[in-house]
Amino acid sequence: MKKKLYFLLLSFAILLLPSLNPLLFSEPSSLVLKHQHNFDWPSSEDFLRIISLRDYNTRIVLLGTMLFGFASGMIGVFVTLRKRALVGDAVSHASLPGVVIAFIFMVSLGGTGKFLPGLLAGALISSFIGVGVILLVRNYTRLHEDAALGIVLSVFFGFGVALLGITQKMKEGNSAGLDSFIYGKTASMLISDAWLILVSAFVVLILSVMFFKEFTILCFDEEYTLARGWSVFGLDLMMMFLTVGVTVVGLQAVGLILVVALLIIPPISARFWTSNLKKMFLISSCLGAISGILGAAVSALVPKLPAGALIVLVCGILFLVSLLFGSESGMFIQLYRNLRFQYRILIQNLLRSMYEIANSKQSFKEDDLKSFMIDYEELFNFRSWKKMSLMIAVEVSKFKNLVIKTKKGLIFTKSGYLESVRIFRNHHLWELYLLNYAGVGLGHVDHFVDDIEHIIESKILEELGEEQRS
């Protein structure tokens, strides 16, 4: 029965697909038609005008997109941590039929149908119906959440597109511009729209800060939240309400297809910079705001480029930068940490070898380090290491002022010698421990020590020293 229902919904969606055609193929061309002239770069005068915000319209657009990016970056942190990012996508797609129905309704009442708060109210209602359907499908059928999301996303969007086709045939009212909800169009943003975004961004800010504790615990551990007596359903509903709210006010700027990007990308980019939730919250909202303002600015400079797409592109670039250079878990910092660890092992091996060679010679005196030199040849034969790694070890040790490099060999510096004494002692302690307590055979002990001595914490070494003394 339920399978049949699912099948029916699916076939319904497939039937609606052809109605996408006029939209996908005719709409972008209508966008192009608005600017008859060829592509040209902004003149320096245009550039100055945008940068200095001399233009009233530009000011509003930049303010609006910035606030929108800020709000979505903020609520996006919780949405992604709750692993609900794609719900945002389904919700934004589900808003289209609401927009069009609101338009038809307002036209039939005798208005122009272009009253934005009315359109957005329609979007809000149909988004919530979408959330409701997702809930129903998930809780009362055996289908999984992804199936529920897919059904709602495609069917609602299909329905919206079909309705859009109807409005184009209507005699009353001018339906042109409704499609800006699909791809987003910032140029038409008015001061009232900016106010609307400002108010909703403010509401998101206040509620997120107020319920920071509750949202945190919900995202971290749902079962525990329930066990401690919170209403998980209520908290989820509030989070969903904020998500839908942000999505709906962003529809006009970014468009319903791309709006989900601003819910997902800023938070996951912020995660590369910090593992502190509060900082993540801050960084994510800043990244969202930067993408909003930069994207809109570039789009204002080059009239043919749609703002929504550019905002998302800037967002993507910021993600790439975070992925590479993020100070917490970016790729370069990880590479650096890895390399630094490798170098530390190399240096420790070098210094220990030098110590052992030096102390096996009669001519070596601790208070006269300068007059004793260890040949490269001898050093190379002392351990089984590659020529390359020995060379790196020598260079790094020299850089750290642990050894003095001469043509034929190496000389300890004062600090280098002290370091080598410490390393040798640690090595020896571990050897004794493994032999006496861990029961590692004599033949294996050196191999084990070599692996472990580099990563052991100083506290454990102290304990080992105590043990040996007693």
């Binding site: 615990i217 525990y224 329930l226 066990a227 359903f233």
Partner: protein
């Protein structure tokens, strides 16, 4: 998405009378089922105060289900659970819950101290900020489990035993009277296991009750004061010396132990020959 949970066992309760009692957890005629298949059948149970109590039984015996139904995390088909003689709703603040370690996302951007502070969120109340004295108390809880040096570590950088100890500190921060633990020793090395047991004994000796799901039959006698043998229904409960009889274990573990018995007899026969 949202989970619609129907936690309203009182509706079916035959024990509506409420008077405070000394029994931390009293379970009456509890039956729980998943998809019409019973997981717990007519469970009657009194958990004694100030004891370390183990729930022991084979896989799928309903051990975690028993914990979760005490916490009202899953719908109850019939029966009732009383916390110190009152309904769960009225006394839930007395229960600290230490979930299975796998149940949370350890890459979550939070450090050990903040995780412990989460135990105090309920007490701090809706919408109010975490203050310094809350953090200080959380730090005190970390100190009690020996984790104060790691307070600033992101939780994914902790070992399994350390993560478990942070969870226990979180339950301490709730100032709970009853600790419910789902397999506290899972994925923990022997030394940490003993450290956690010492900690639990400390907790129970201060008059608090610990109820833990436990797997290892070999250590039950050593670790716990009270054992509940469970396989869909309660086989027996009481002091380990009386409860852990061969007969009871066979009834709990059913065929498998019998099979082991057979193998043992066969081996001893072989030896004799």
């Amino acid at each position: 998405m949202f989970k619609l949970k129907k936690n309203n066992p009182e509706k079916f309760s035959f024990h509506m009378d409420e008077h405070p009692s000394d029994i931390p957890i009293a379970v009456h005629d509890l039956t729980v089922s998943y998809n019409r298949k019973p997981v717990l059948w007519d469970v009657d149970l009194n958990i004694p105060k100030g004891k370390l109590v183990a729930i022991v039984g084979p896989n799928g015996a309903g051990k975690s289900t028993l914990l979760k139904s005490i916490l009202h995390l899953i719908p109850i088909a019939s029966g009732a659970v009383k916390i110190y003689g009152r309904t769960f709703k009225k006394n839930k603040h007395l229960i600290g819950y230490v979930p299975q370690r796998e149940s949370v996302d350890w890459s979550f951007p939070v450090n050990a101290l903040d995780t412990v502070v989460m135990g105090m969120y309920r007490k701090i109340g809706w919408c109010l900020p975490v203050l310094r004295r809350h953090k200080e108390f959380a730090m005190e809880c970390l100190r009690r489990v020996g984790m104060e040096d790691f307070y600033n570590r992101q939780i994914s950088q902790l070992s399994g035993g350390q993560q478990q100890r942070v969870f226990i500190a979180r339950a301490l921060a709730e100032r709970a009277e009853i600790f419910l633990m789902d397999e506290p020793f899972a994925g923990v090395d022997a030394r940490t296991e003993r450290a956690i047991v010492t900690l639990l004994k400390e907790i129970s000796s201060s008059g608090k009750t610990v109820l833990a799901v436990h797997h290892d039959l070999n250590t039950v006698r050593e670790y716990f004061d009270h054992v509940i043998l469970l396989n869909l229904r309660i086989i027996d409960s009481g002091s380990p010396d009386f409860v852990l009889t061969e007969e009871n274990l066979r009834r709990t573990y059913g065929g498998r132990l019998t099979l082991l018995d057979k193998a043992a007899t066969a081996l001893s026969n072989l030896d004799r020959e």
